[in-house]
């Protein structure tokens, strides 16, 4: 419970920091926040085990922390530092880290589902009981790549969970102008896949649904879809004035803020006191303050590194690409050993 709360708080606090850094001119390019959607990414990814793979979209930063990404990595990405996961060559969540089972998306949407299918296929080929999870906004699900990804996942019966985040907006276009369905579960049903719709702002409900889908996929039950009903509380990016959003609708969803809601549950259920919540927030803030100072002291990459790494360098990287596959990427972990039961719910920390 503490971990879930901490990951959501971290997601928001880091983006608050990034917003300040953006205004101070330290963020290179755009800033794409997930305000209001923290519970979907954190709750769903928590259902995965070590050795599983996850492909976020740009707004699923919380899932990366759940997988073990140090928050400083996101700061470095947005500040385009040499030590960032992409070495300054790409931005946002666009990094692949085999050690953490993270596949970075690219900007053309829906594509990471197609690639993650290949990872799920490899699990099957190797007889491994591992699972992949990916995310798509309802906007991304309108692309051809998304459609083909769904088709392939279903046709090959792959161990993959697709979290469809219905956050109401694709850039500046409302989702009801992008499809003729009201219930987005119908779009997944068309592929013959089991679907469960959840309140995407309720981290426990998201976790429960994800756990069900992950367990089914791990047991050989094939792909599953979760439709998470949520709301993108900010514009597409920091430069977006979000004038097109109705104030009353924003107000309504502000009342469903996933972090405040979870705080109430934690306190009401006696899992964590108000001061316990406060302690976590303070600790996160202190960690981030230090990380920000460190990142600002770091350099952008050397200009001529722009020429490097287009192709494998046989000198440096003889077994590429899989030399970077770590024990976590390949070790034969029991899929259930890390979070096999709901014991963690009672035990507190992960």
């Amino acid at each position: 419970m503490r971990a879930l709360y901490r990951h959501m708080v971290l997601t928001r606090a880091l983006e608050d920091r990034l917003e300040s850094l953006f205004k101070q001119g330290h963020v290179v390019g755009g800033l794409y926040r997930c305000l209001g959607q923290e519970a979907t990414a954190v709750g769903s990814s928590y259902a995965l085990a070590d050795g599983d793979w996850l492909a976020p979209s740009i707004r699923d930063v919380g899932a990366l922390y759940v997988r073990g990404l140090p928050p400083i990595a996101m700061l470095r990405q947005y500040a385009a530092r040499e030590a960032s996961p992409c070495g300054g060559k790409d931005n946002t969540t666009h990094f692949t880290i085999p050690e953490l089972g993270l596949l970075g998306p690219i900007s053309p949407l829906g594509t990471q589902l197609c690639v993650l299918n290949g990872m799920a296929l490899t699990f099957k080929q190797r007889g491994q009981t591992r699972v992949c999870m990916t995310y798509q906004g309802e906007g991304a699900s309108r692309t051809g790549a998304s459609h083909e990804g769904f088709v392939m996942a279903a046709a090959l019966d792959l161990p993959i969970v697709i979290v469809l985040e219905h956050n109401r907006w694709s850039f500046g276009t409302r989702s009801d102008r992008a499809a003729a369905v009201e219930d987005w579960a119908h779009t997944a049903e068309a592929y013959g896949l089991p679907v469960r719709s959840v309140d995407g702002n309720d981290v426990l409900e998201v976790y429960e649904a994800a756990r069900e889908a992950v367990d089914r996929a791990r047991a050989g039950g094939g792909p599953g879809v979760i439709v998470a009903e949520t709301y993108r509380m900010l514009g597409h990016a920091q430069h977006d004035s979000q004038k097109y959003m109705a104030p009353e609708e924003l107000e309504e969803w502000r009342g469903r803020d996933p972090i405040q809601r979870f705080e109430r549950v934690l306190v009401d259920e006696g899992w964590l006191s108000e001061s316990g919540c406060e302690e976590i927030r303070t600790a996160v803030d202190a960690e981030l303050a230090e990380a920000v100072n460190q990142v600002l002291a770091e350099e952008h990459p050397e200009p001529d590194t722009a020429r490097t790494r287009v192709f494998a360098d046989p000198e440096e990287d003889p077994e590429a690409p899989w030399t970077r596959m770590s024990p976590i990427g390949y070790a034969d972990l029991s899929p259930t050993e890390s979070r096999g039961s709901r014991a963690w719910l009672d035990g507190g920390a992960r």
Binding site: T96, P98, T111, C114, L116, G118, Q125, A145, V310
Partner: protein
């Protein structure tokens, strides 16, 4: 080998092998050697491939390594990328290379940029039948290399000979980066060569080959045009007693510019022949690089013989007009030799 593919082997272990069989042999032998190699694509399994290249593979290697997919080229290439990230060596078949278009995004934005962006390579092979001459119209006849020429991170090969068909595919499968392998369907059953059964042939990517030595003019070409260029060279040799050097690029990216420049410095004249349309075609790039590196050695302007700048037409009269013909190459060569 299945009973559908009877093998006649000579006493010294050679077998008459077609270009198509060389492709099959390369894949099969790599799959036997390395269990991370697998193939996926439309109708590659039960049907055995639209051109029967993977006939018998499903029975030999099973459904985990010979995967029939839906008609979803983006998903095929995407799955290949994901598997490659996991250490597999997938071969994605495009039923016709024209159908690579729906996978364009996956290739240029995901596969080609993956290592650069994140340090994780996508060692995949995407192969498929290209080229005209089989009266198949605008969507089963194209040469797509120039679509991808401007995308750093991709390698591209286009074999002309049986030995290279096998050797380049073997090298492509073992390569840690994405390789587009363009197999010319006109050559599938038309070119044959005696190859040793089971011989491991690896043709390094990025190395051109001198198909025919000469002293008076260099023709740079690749794929099926190697054969028409060689035919033109023989004719000019016979009738004009001038000797044309034919360089078969084999790999179009990386481009063996050193081999081209070395030849041009000896002959002083350059003709570039390719089957793709002229505008924005590879010949333009080769021209620019030769001008940058060997302008002072040129005794004549560089010329290009290519397809015309239209879609590939269907009717035999139209397609023959569209495609570069031996007499077009002869005419251009004579013009250059007389310059």
């Amino acid at each position: 080998m299945s009973e559908d593919h009877p093998v006649t082997v000579t006493e010294d272990g050679l077998r008459e092998t077609t270009y198509l069989e060389a492709i099959r042999d390369a894949m099969r032998e790599e799959m036997l050697r390395d269990d991370t190699v697998f193939i996926l694509g439309e109708d590659v399994g039960v049907y055995g491939g639209a051109f029967k290249i993977t006939d018998g593979f499903l029975a030999e290697f099973g459904p985990d390594r010979v995967i029939d997919t839906p008609i979803s080229e983006a998903a095929i290439v995407g799955a290949a990328i994901g598997a490659a990230h996991m250490g597999m060596r997938p071969i994605a078949e495009m039923q016709f290379i024209d159908f690579i278009a729906p996978a364009f995004d996956m290739i240029v934005n995901f596969a080609a940029k993956s290592r650069y962006r994140t340090g994780i390579g996508a060692g995949i092979v995407i192969r498929g039948p290209c080229g005209g001459g089989s009266r198949s119209g605008p969507f089963h006849s194209q040469n797509v290399e120039s679509f991808f020429a401007n995308v750093p991170g991709l390698k591209m090969v286009a074999p002309a000979t049986v030995r290279d068909a096998k050797g380049l595919l073997t090298a492509a499968i073992r390569d840690p980066d994405p390789v587009l392998y363009f197999e010319h369907k006109f050559l599938y059953r038309r070119v044959k060569e005696m190859l040793a059964v089971g011989e491991e042939i690896v043709v390094p990517l990025g190395q051109a080959r001198t198909h025919r030595p000469g002293t008076d003019l260099t023709i740079v070409t690749y794929g099926a045009m190697v054969w028409k260029s060689a035919e033109a060279a023989e004719l000019v040799s016979r009738e004009d007693t001038r000797e044309i050097e034919v360089i078969d690029l084999r790999s179009i990216r990386p481009l063996d510019i050193d081999a081209i420049v070395e030849s041009v410095q000896r002959t002083g004249r350059l003709l570039i022949v390719h089957e793709a349309p002229k505008f924005g075609g590879f010949a333009g790039e080769i021209t620019a690089q030769v001008c940058e590196q060997a302008f002072e050695w040129l005794d004549a302007p560089i010329r290009r013989v290519t397809a015309i700048d239209t879609p590939v037409p269907y009717a035999p009269t139209l397609e023959d007009y569209y495609l570069p013909q031996t007499e077009d190459i002869v005419a251009a060569a004579r013009w250059l030799l007389a310059y």
